[in-house]
């Protein structure tokens, strides 16, 4: 082989790599970065990308979204690998605050989970209350007529599922061992939905992921139960405590929280999905909690408040203006 040809090939490789590198790095270097670890349902629905685009246009900051399940999102922030979390599991959030990892919690949005399943509905749960439906699914499952797919990944949806089983009078650890009908997906919501569809099983899902997958023709599942305050799903944002992790971008986190609870941010949340699905995927929560004149307000307070507030005073830091 000709030496010159090899040399030229190597030169081209090096040139391509460095040109690509320069183009890619120009955009992000020297920019302040804000790392948000978040639940997959917020990212996969596309909402967070929409928020990021609008937020970044006005500021010189690079929003870096790490999209994992709520369980891992919280762990990353505890370890100091994120500046803030955006999650939906009140029990984990309270723990996060109590252990001193987080401050300035704000509830930003809510929606409802749904129980979806095959159109044939072998357990006959259509239009039942959530807890009745779960009892029926267990019964049918034990008779070999129905199957259930669980996220099984400590995500917010999985935590909700466990709470629902308990409320319906079952011990989740026991159900888990009934592998003839109860299967853990150990995947994101999309993966769990596809698995449920392939197995003609029931599962618990957020509406955003369900609608996007249904519209794309990836799943053949119907929404069977979507009414009932037990299915409430509340999204909150918490900044990582800077006294715990001094290297984190605390000011950036606070500014982003302020944006999310502002009229602009709340409208963005409330409008998202209307064009694509004919219905919003998330409902803004800030005004609702201030005005206190909607029945859902009480449900949110009962489900996602700690000691009667979205963020107890000792975890508010110096940012009292966030709490009206």
């Amino acid at each position: 082989m000709e030496k010159t040809e090899t040399f030229i090939a190597a030169l081209i490789l090096a040139a391509v790599v460095s040109v690509a590198g320069i183009i890619v790095s120009i955009k992000v270097t020297a920019k302040e970065r804000l790392r948000i670890s978040t639940t997959t349902s917020l990212y996969d629905s596309g909402l967070l990308e929409a928020i990021r685009n609008q937020y970044e246009t006005k500021r010189s900051i690079s929003i870096q979204i790490i999209s994992r399940g709520t369980g891992l999102a919280v762990k990353l922030a505890q370890g100091g690998d994120a500046d803030m979390i955006l999650v939906h599991a009140p029990s984990k959030e309270f723990f996060f605050l109590k252990q001193g990892y987080g401050v300035c919690r704000k509830i930003i949005a809510y929606n409802f989970f749904a129980i979806v399943g095959p159109e044939t509905d072998p357990a006959e749960i259509r239009e039942l209350t959530p807890l009745e439906a779960l009892a029926k699914i267990v019964e049918a499952g034990r008779n070999g007529q129905a199957k259930w797919v669980s996220r099984g990944d400590e995500s917010g949806t999985h935590i909700k599922e466990k709470v629902l089983w308990e409320a319906a009078g079952f011990i989740w650890e026991n159900l888990r061992s009934e592998i003839s009908w109860y299967r853990e997906a150990s995947k994101g919501m999309g993966g769990a939905l596809i698995l449920a569809s392939e197995r003609s099983a029931y599962t618990l899902t957020d509406m955003g992921t369900y609608l996007s997958h249904s519209k794309a023709g990836l799943i053949a599942l119907d929404v069977l139960v979507s009414e009932g305050e037990e299915l409430l799903n509340v999204y909150s944002v918490i900044a990582v405590n800077q006294t715990r992790h001094p290297h984190t971008n605390f000011n950036g986190a606070i500014d982003f929280i302020k944006f999310l609870v502002s009229d602009e941010g709340q409208q963005l949340i409330g409008d998202y999905g209307k064009d694509d699905y004919g219905q919003p995927l998330f409902y803004p929560a800030v005004k609702l909690l201030q005005e206190n004149n909607d029945p859902v307000t009480d449900s949110i307070k009962e489900y996602a408040f700690f000691n009667g507030t979205e963020c107890p005073a000792e975890y508010r830091g110096d940012y009292l203006e966030l709490y009206g």
Binding site: M1, V24, G79
Partner: protein
């Protein structure tokens, strides 16, 4: 094609290309040394590199994650969720490929060249370089195969890169994400692009092999 997709393609090339060049920094001398020198345990060393050829990327990704997370031993480097973290990870991943390829390329060159160079008064390093020069084809092959493995891997890019849109998302993690977002068309487009890159590289590889005397 949207700007975002072009950015992901360029980032993939940049990350995996840099990883290849970085790996060469230590793999070239390593492969060369193993190839030209005769020492006790040489077969064992070669065996180790061969064994790591099939290193599962998620395993390496997990190990790196534990090392570079903020609470880990290398947390102070602030590498977590940056392109540099993927570059370092991929550079480690492809080291066995590069070393093995270079070692065999060097071994296939007649050892007379080294002896001849030495007889003509070359130092040890100069003599080794003369051997490397003869093995250019094989060395280029090592670079290409390494780049190929790097750009097609996903475990490291996902675990330590975090697949952050606009920052560390590369082709493989973007494809996985599009599935999760139910954007099958975009996922297929990205898959086609990744395949084209890998095929083009393989084609070059075959051409080089064919032309080798």
């Amino acid at each position: 094609m949207s700007l975002e997709i072009i950015e992901i393609i360029l980032r993939s090339i940049y990350v995996s290309g840099t990883a290849t060049l970085l790996s060469a920094v230590w793999s070239l001398p390593l492969g060369l040394t193993i190839g030209v020198k005769n020492f006790y345990g040489k077969r064992f060393v070669k065996g180790v590199f061969n064994a790591f050829l099939g290193m599962p990327t998620v395993v390496l990704g997990l190990v790196l994650f534990l090392l570079i997370r903020h609470a880990g031993p290398f947390g102070f480097l602030n590498l977590m969720f940056t392109p540099l973290a993927i570059i370092v990870g991929q550079a480690v991943l492809i080291t066995p490929i590069m070393v093995s390829f270079i070692t065999s390329a060097v071994e296939s060159i007649d050892s007379d060249i080294r002896d001849l160079a030495k007889t003509l008064g070359a130092t040890e390093i100069q003599a080794s370089l003369a051997v490397l020069k003869e093995a250019t084809g094989g060395t280029l092959l090592a670079f290409i195969a390494s780049f190929n493995r790097a750009i097609a891997e996903m475990g490291i890019a996902y675990m330590v890169g975090g697949s952050i849109p606009g920052f560390t998302m590369v082709l493989t993690t973007a494809i996985a994400l599009q599935r999760d977002m139910a954007n099958i068309e975009l996922g297929l487009t990205l898959a086609a692009i990744l395949l084209s890159i890998v095929f083009a590289i393989n084609l070059t590889l075959n051409l080089i092999q064919k032309r080798k005397p």
